[in-house]
């Protein structure tokens, strides 16, 4: 591992729905299940509140990864929210991939309020992936600020 990699401190934004995943994160906390500090959680009422614009915004502002966590399909507090979120995010991720943005920088996972362990596992896993990918240059620079990375 080069020194540069060691210094890389990723920035990860996690959108968590209030009813399942945010509570799952709370449970991870109460259970003292660690995940990296680079993950910062934004509380939204439901995964369907996450506008793809928010995801793009985070990337454009320098986030290295964005993860959306919601109730398991079928368990949405608002019955149907995560089904819409699932479609939107699938489409968004595919579009980002089409633009050549590393698709591994995005993720959707379903974490219930009882799944503190899963929350921690998912976050550790995602963070590991982002560490592997390194800094997000591409989406922050779609209009040519820097020479193309090789």
């Amino acid at each position: 591992m080069s020194i540069e990699n060691k210094e890389f401190k990723p920035l990860i934004v996690a959108f968590c729905c209030n009813w399942c995943s945010y509570a799952g994160a709370d449970l991870a906390g109460t259970s003292r299940l660690a995940y990296p500090a680079e993950i910062k959680i934004i509380r939204v009422p439901c995964s369907c509140r996450v506008n793809p614009m928010f995801v793009l915004r985070a990337f454009q502002r320098g986030a290295d990864g964005v993860i959306i966590a919601g109730c398991h399909p079928g368990d949405c507090h608002y019955t149907t929210g995560n089904y819409y979120a699932r479609r939107r995010m699938t489409l968004l991720f595919s579009m980002l991939d089409f633009f050549g943005i590393e698709k591994e920088r995005t993720r959707v996972d379903w974490v219930s309020a009882a799944e503190g362990v899963k929350f921690s596992t998912v976050m550790n896993d995602f963070s590991k992936k982002i560490h592997e990918l390194g800094e997000n240059r591409r989406l922050g620079d779609l209009r040519c600020k820097m020479p193309i990375e090789k």
């Binding site: 709370d26 934004i42 369907c48 608002y78 149907t80």
Partner: protein, 661 residues
Amino acid sequence: MQRIGVFVCWCGTNIAATVDIDTVVEAMKYEPGVVHASDYQYMCSEAGQSKIKQAIKEHNLTGIVVCACSPRMHETTFRKAAKAAGLNQYMVEIANIREHCAWIHKDRKEATEKAVVLARTAVAKLNLNTPLTPGESSVVKRALVIGGGIAGIQSALDIAEAGYEVDIVEKQPTIGGKMAQLDKTFPTLDCAACILTPKMVDAASHENINLYTYSEVDSVGGFVGNFNVKIRKKARSVKADICSGCGICTEKCPSRKAENEFNLGLNKRGAIYIPFAQAIPNVPVIDRDQCIKFKTGKCGLCAKVCPADAIDFSQQDEIVEKQYGAVVLATGFNPIKLDNFDEFGYSQSKDVITSLELERIMNAAGPTGGKLLRPSDNGHPHTMVFVQCVGSRDTTGCGKTYCSKICCMYTAKHAMLIREKYPDVDVHVFYIDVRTPGKNFDEFYRRAAEDYGVNYIKGMVGKVAPTNGKLLVQGSDLIADRQLVIEADMVVLATAIEPDQTAKSLATMLTASIDTNNFFTEAHPKLRPVESPTAGVFLSGVCQGPKDIPETVAQASAAAVKVIGLLSKDKLMCNPCVANSNELLCNGCSNCQHVCPYGAIDYVEKEFRAGGKTSLRRVAQVNEAICQGCGACTVVCPSGAMDLKGFTNQQIMAEVDAICR
């Protein structure tokens, strides 16, 4: 510009041990809008709250950020404090630096840095907060109880006693539920019918209680305070208002092929039947699948013998539509099907029975008149084996992972009753653990084992093999570390219980959540155990999790208190964090209406004046009493006209920006 106060909580050492409080406080002083930042050991305490209140007044704050535990824990506390100090309670934001930071990070520097980011994110959001005023909605002063077992009856009686109207919907022809099928109850051994049937009569005769038996909930609309429910009254084929309940029809009915559900198929009943003698209402019902008249058109004997002329073959299902302020779910349980447990021979031998079947056999009103008889030959059994945890605490995927809770006690009860009545019967009980927490429970179990000579064997049964009219029970005795073969006459399986299958569809109708086992989820496992997360929906009895009768009754009464508390209000405060359409931006495209799960969005043609001209435009309007604030609509709105109060596009973007700064 806001005048923001930031309050950093130590939570004793919970936060302070990992997060450097001073650094957070210092960093917040330079955030835009912040005019005051301070810290305290316990912000949620009386003293902490008064510090907040004082600061609000002293610094003329327009909003506060509390850096503390999860908002799910104390957001309400701090909102109340802010309100008491004259601030709008929605001008409060919480930075979760305990569960999401201090508790999961060990490195002090890292945790402190994260706490600063979380705090400034909350400040960034609060800078865009606007005071919100909750709307009000009315409360229909009537409750619906779904399920007429002991849970539903108790909830209904308590609510009715407080002076509110209650309707009970029960899918069976009678109320009473599972408790009506039981013989004796542990640990006092009083007879179930003796304590239940008076309650059934109370419920039926109470002026505030209305029974819909042989009925099901078809659909639920609306929301807390104003549920709109359609109840399907299934056709009984008997006019309930004129039937005298004499029972002549049930005696004369020539069809005798139907399995008697109440006795779990241990005997037969007629096509027109009353489930049991004390059924309420005492009105028979025609099982149209079994009735000769319905099947062939000939017969009609019941109609001929009925002295009241109450038989009505042309009766149709009837839909009743009613409004309710609150809904109590008391849908109860069923023993699981034993298809996955062929090793116990349930399908191969009539003498392998479930515990609930044994209840009927032991019951004086049951198929054997209360005599302990082997189902296969009506002989007297000499050796009985009880198998505990059949399908409970099962990690193989065949059964349920949870403990069904009641089996240890009822098995002790069965064993004790059998040994008392028939001292010649040897009783063996195979168990994994005997779990008897509860008042006088362990004493009860010990009495069975010690005073009544019930042979408790720690170990599981591997196989029950019907051989030559006997049942060869192969099991292991873990304490003696040996394999056992017992030649038994009857085997009783302590079958796991599972929520009634209606739970799932009701959960969908009511948007109440259920867990992976289909038990209804409570709003908080400890602090709000009788409320569902869906406002106005309450949980009573086993539909929330396995329970015995005293616990069920306690929870039923607790749910009733919550209902009474709700119905006693004239107005309900709505959640103000609801969708809001900016009519100036709205295209009228209907996208938001398509995705709204609550039907909260309507469209109106509205006049707009611009540049001296008036034009008519179709715009979305949100019914704030119906909207629950999920935000699905905000994302499909192409023009950004639809936004969610309290979680606006700008607020969330500001949070993103603050994190990515």
